[in-house]
């Protein structure tokens, strides 16, 4: 057959029916489009959020080969040691912290550099202003110009600056000062955060690394530049992987709907296929035609999805960046970049998913023989008979899911957990025909609800295959929503309980500038004494946090007063031992407790020894227990304050817990403490406020999860609307007949709405069962392996009931338009069509 003939035939037999039912075609293509759009949006947002770790200043000053760092700071004399080496090294010391812009509260990197050596491009060359404490150079993203005044909160102090110059184009939001003022403003006492080293050519980087390491004092580490960025990317990998998996759900639901559309298409055109085969069409041609139809859906969906995904990415990047910022690492999102590679991948995903989902119906179409183009009734009867075989296969998949759930992670990723989830979804899909068939046996019940319910239930059971696919699609979306809802609800409740155990102090203090998972601004140590001297205060527990790298992954080293923690705290331990056992051991010397995420990530357990380089000294800490912690996924190592000060003698606390004496009210105590710290940029929170804020952050973190689930459910409901419309078109003669037999238009409407309602009910039922099973997987396998958190199972009853009701109502509403179409059919025309 010539190529032109093929195109003409494809147009006549496949494309024309699609054009004749534009609404249904559009709904199916939109289902793919939304799936593709969500995947693309998450990919773009993830790229943007993870692509901005490198400071714009690094970009400006050119690449370095190595970075030298140490927990608690690199001693300043290290610069001299490196400069003394007999090589032409380019050495650039750095002090790096954060500051908050007064007025709008933006948190921006605050970087101290050697202004002369780094030679930053800016609109000023006035070198005399470098050493002044009020001089600042800013990135072009801040919106200030040379000569403007800028007020920045640095730790607990407000400082006023004059903008001396604006750095080059696309330097973003950053404030840069010379090293000397930075040291003074940040109270660094001669320590640096990082030294960038550029080496001359002639030796390999491995050799240079050895040279540098030998020149460094103990506890100071050298690493290739970019390793920090890579570390951050590695840290984010699990988060992004989980987000990606969630984004695929909408695509999977879209695939279900393509499968449904094509299955319906094959059933409807069975006689047509028979005629074509009789006229000489080969099986391959029939199969290719239906795959072509799917590819059309994929292509249209892919194009719409590209535009939609790019738009969605704008919103998604804010949500993803907020989560990254509060849970992982400070990062301002990079611009969204949609490259050709991603465009090609997106189109491939759209067309690929559509064609893959169409394989089975297309294969079925190719098997139709001219003599075997039989009635729907017999065909569906065969499907009905196969439902027991499907149940057997479902049992096998369930067994497989159980086995997969017991396997460990691969490379820190819950690969088997996800396989178990897919197997469970497959299991549910295979079990659905049996569930739908139960409708037939419940015909007596349907009769009680009237003839409309009987006809609706029979129609669904009669179209077992089509109904099963539809219910499967909707159930999958509902299940994922329910599962994520249960997981997040359980997590939320676990965090609330954990906070009520762990947060026992009446008041909490921290610097006014924004904190983050890797930002620990400090307060002046004299505040501790000031508060301790207040007669209303019983105890003050200063806590200091440091950003460290442990085994190539970021973590937090922290220390509080173990005596006070032992006295008040009820920090639940994995061992089940009382908190005082651990705090006593912390007080006894170089001992540590670690958070559960840290223990899981680094495979650390009670009794292990942690080796840390702290400000030029090698230290070893014995892990005396693991504690439950939900505040950071990075993981904590906690020491007693006295132990930490032994290695890192900076007494400035990152935050403080204040315990009031009995009889002192929280409001009164807060007022007294606020008076005591007046003049400092310090925030005082009551216990309740802190918990409420924590829950707000929690809810914000999971907002994107809900958004993704919402899209999946929307796709499924749209699929139901499309399928019901197809059903009306497919059964128009039946509806016409009902009119001949005395059926009123209202009865036709009720039949469609009953069918929509039953689809919703079945999907809710199947979705809930599957959802609970998936939530167990999420809580005990996938989340545990990805993030290392133990979550107690809780039923978020209100949320589940609300979501299920919403889905049910939306499904019924999805039947309104098809019902309208059904009532407008001309019975005479449709009954005499054949």
């Amino acid at each position: 057959m010539g190529r032109l003939n093929r195109i003409v035939l494809f147009d006549r037999l496949i494309a024309r029916p699609l054009r004749l039912e534009p609404l249904r075609t559009l709904l199916t293509a939109l289902a793919v489009a939304l799936g593709v759009a969500v995947v693309l949006a998450i990919e773009l947002a993830g790229n943007a959020a993870a692509g901005s770790f490198r400071s714009s200043v690094e970009t400006l000053t050119g690449d370095a080969d190595f970075e030298i760092t140490a927990t608690g700071g690199v001693p300043a004399q290290t610069v001299a040691s490196l400069a003394a080496l007999p090589y032409a090294l380019r050495i650039r010391p750095r002090i790096e912290d954060y500051a908050s812009v007064a007025g709008d509260g933006r948190t921006i990197p605050f970087i101290g550099v050697d202004m002369l050596a780094d030679a930053l491009p800016s609109s000023t060359t006035d070198t005399s202003s470098f050493q002044r404490d009020d001089s600042v150079w800013i990135g072009d993203g801040l919106g200030y110009k040379a000569g403007d005044r800028l007020s920045l909160a640095i730790n607990d102090t407000q400082s006023e600056f004059v903008v001396r110059g604006v750095l080059g184009a696309r330097t973003g939001e950053v404030a840069v000062v010379d090293l000397a003022p930075a040291t003074r403003l940040l109270g660094r006492n001669g320590s640096l955060d990082r030294i960038l080293v550029q080496v001359p050519s002639g030796r390999s980087l491995d050799e240079w690394e050895t040279v540098l390491r030998n020149a460094l004092p103990p506890g100071v580490t050298v690493a290739r530049q970019g390793s920090r960025t890579n570390e951050n990317r590695r840290m984010l990998a699990a988060f992004r992987w989980n987000l990606r998996v969630l984004s695929y759900i909408a695509l999977i639901v879209g695939a279900f709907l393509i499968y449904n559309t094509l299955s319906v298409s094959v059933v409807r055109r069975r006689a047509e296929i028979g005629i074509l085969r009789a006229l000489g069409a080969t099986r391959g041609q029939v199969m290719a035609a239906f795959l072509g139809e799917a590819a059309c859906f994929g292509l249209i969906g892919g194009v719409i999805g590209l535009a939609l995904g790019r738009g969605l990415a704008e919103g998604a990047v804010k949500l993803v960046a907020a989560t990254v910022d509060s849970l992982y690492v400070s990062s301002s999102p990079a611009p969204i970049s949609l490259g050709w590679g991603l465009v090609a991948l997106t189109m491939l995903a759209g067309v690929g998913v559509a064609v893959l989902s169409a394989l089975s119906p297309a294969w079925e179409a190719s098997r139709v023989t001219p003599v075997e183009a039989m009635s729907r009734g017999r065909r569906e009867h065969e499907v009905s008979l196969h439902r027991f075989r499907s149940l057997g296969m479902a049992a096998v998949l369930a067994l497989g899911a159980g086995l997969a759930a017991r396997q460990g992670p691969i490379g820190g990723r819950p690969v088997f957990g996800c396989i178990a989830a897919i197997l469970l979804i497959g299991c549910c899909t295979l079990a659905i025909p049996a569930l739908v068939a139960m409708l037939s046996s419940a015909a007596g019940l349907a009769r009680l609800c009237g003839v409309e319910a009987l006809l609706a239930s029979r129609s669904l059971a009669g179209s077992l295959r089509r109904t099963s696919v539809l219910v499967g699609a909707l159930a999958t979306a509902i299940a994922m929503t329910a599962a994520v809802g249960i997981m997040v609800g359980s997590f939320r409740q676990t965090v609330i309980l954990w906070m009520s155990d762990g947060l026992q102090a009446d008041l909490y203090l921290r610097p006014a500038m924004a904190t983050g998972a890797d930002r620990h601004p400090t307060m002046s140590p004299e505040i501790i004494q000031r508060l301790q001297s207040l007669p209303e205060v019983a105890d003050v527990d200063p806590f200091r946090a440091y950003e460290i790298s442990y085994e190539g992954l970021s973590a937090t080293l922290g220390a509080g007063d173990a005596r006070i923690a032992g006295r008040y705290g009820r920090r639940p331990l994995l061992s089940g031992a009382p908190t005082s056992t651990a705090t006593d051991q912390l007080l006894a010397g170089d001992n540590a407790i670690v958070s559960e995420p840290f223990a899981n990530k680094h495979h650390v357990k009670k009794g292990d020894v942690l080796k840390l380089s702290l400000s030029g000294r090698q230290a070893q800490f014995k892990v005396v227990d693991v504690y439950f912690d939900y505040s950071s996924e990075r993981g904590y190592i906690i020491l007693d304050r006295s132990t930490l000060l032994k290695y890192l003698p900076d007494p400035a606390p990152s935050n403080m817990a204040v315990y009031l004496k009995p009889g002192i009210g929280v409001d009164e105590g807060k007022r007294i403490v606020e008076n005591a710290v007046s003049g400092r940029k310090v925030l005082v929170f009551a216990n309740r406020t802190l918990r409420e804020d924590a829950i707000k952050i929690f809810d914000r973190t999971f907002a994107i999860t809900y958004a993704l689930e919402g899209v999946a459910v929307f796709v499924a409901i749209m699929g139901v609307a499309g399928a019901l419309l197809a059903l009306v078109i497919d059964r128009r003669r039946e509806f016409g007949l009902l009119r001949f037999l005395g059926g009123a238009t209202g009865q036709l409407r009720r039949i469609i709405l009953f069918e929509a309602g039953m689809l919703g009910l079945l999907a809710n039922l199947a979705g809930m069962v599957l959802g609970v099973l998936l939530s167990l997987l999420l809580i005990y396998v996938i989340n545990k392996q990805s993030f290392g958190w133990t979550i107690q199972f809780h039923w978020p009853v209100a949320m589940l009931l609300g979501a299920l009701t919403l889905v049910y109502v939306a499904t019924v509403l999805a039947g309104l338009y098809p019902a309208r179409v059904a009532t407008r059919l001309n019975p005479i025309e449709v009954i005499h069509e054949e």
């Binding site: 009734g377 009867h381 006809l455 009669g462 037999l741 005395g742 005479i828």
Partner: protein
């Protein structure tokens, strides 16, 4: 003889591609209770249109159709539906059984649509009339063409209609089976006093009826 259906000067026009096509032109006829009538003529002569007008499925462009004293053009949609439920039964060439319902469920469907009580008993009785009571639990695809048409007749009779409209009821059947169906319709007209209006191509089929109405180009000839 008591007249059950009067058709007076009925014309029916359809719009096809913007052009008006006259399916019936000034047709007048009246039919008595228990009369078996054949409407004969070539395809497109207006047989089905006349059946649809008689069965209150459509309105004439001009003229009146009166069924058991009720003028159909004076009724709204819900009243027409009620009239159809109570007074009219339909039989089609291609049987038109619902594939998802069993035989008995198909038969009791009109009663259920009308909200009738105890539809099962009446349905079984009608199945017995057409000698299909032993097939009550079967599904339509398990029946032969003749059996399906007998079930369709039972369904059309379940409301005890005054008027039974049959559009080419033997068109999809072999001659022997077709004859059996015609005998059944004859029996219904005689014994149940139901007026049967049958559209057919076949003059042989028409031979069994009391009255033959010939239609050509929308007119009675």
């Amino acid at each position: 003889m008591e007249s059950i259906l009067q058709i007076q000067d009925v014309s029916k026009e359809y719009l096809t591609d913007g052009a008006s096509v006259e399916a019936l032109r000034h047709v007048s006829a009246q039919f008595s209770r228990g009369e078996f009538v054949a409407l004969v003529g070539r395809s497109g002569c207006g047989k089905s249109t006349l059946l649809n007008l008689a069965g209150a499925m459509d309105f004439p462009t001009s003229g009146t159709v009166t069924l058991e004293g009720v003028k159909t053009s004076a009724l709204n949609d819900s009243s027409l539906t009620k009239l159809r439920r109570e007074k009219v039964g339909f039989i089609f060439q291609s049987f038109q059984l619902l594939p998802t319902l069993s035989v008995i469920e198909n038969v009791e469907l009109p009663l259920m649509l009308g909200g009738g009580r105890a539809p099962r008993q009446a349905a079984m009785e009608r199945l017995a009339w057409v000698q299909m009571e032993d097939f009550a639990a079967r599904m339509p695809y398990q029946l032969s063409g003749g059996q399906m048409q007998r079930v369709a007749i039972a369904r059309a009779l379940v409301n005890s209609p005054a008027l039974l409209l049959a559009d080419e009821p033997t068109g999809n059947l072999d001659t022997t089976t077709g004859d059996l169906i015609l005998q059944l319709l004859r029996h219904i007209a005689n014994e149940r006093r139901t007026t049967v209006l049958m559209a057919t191509h076949s003059l042989e089929a028409a031979g069994i009826t009391d009255t033959i109405v010939r239609l050509r180009d929308g007119q009675v000839v």
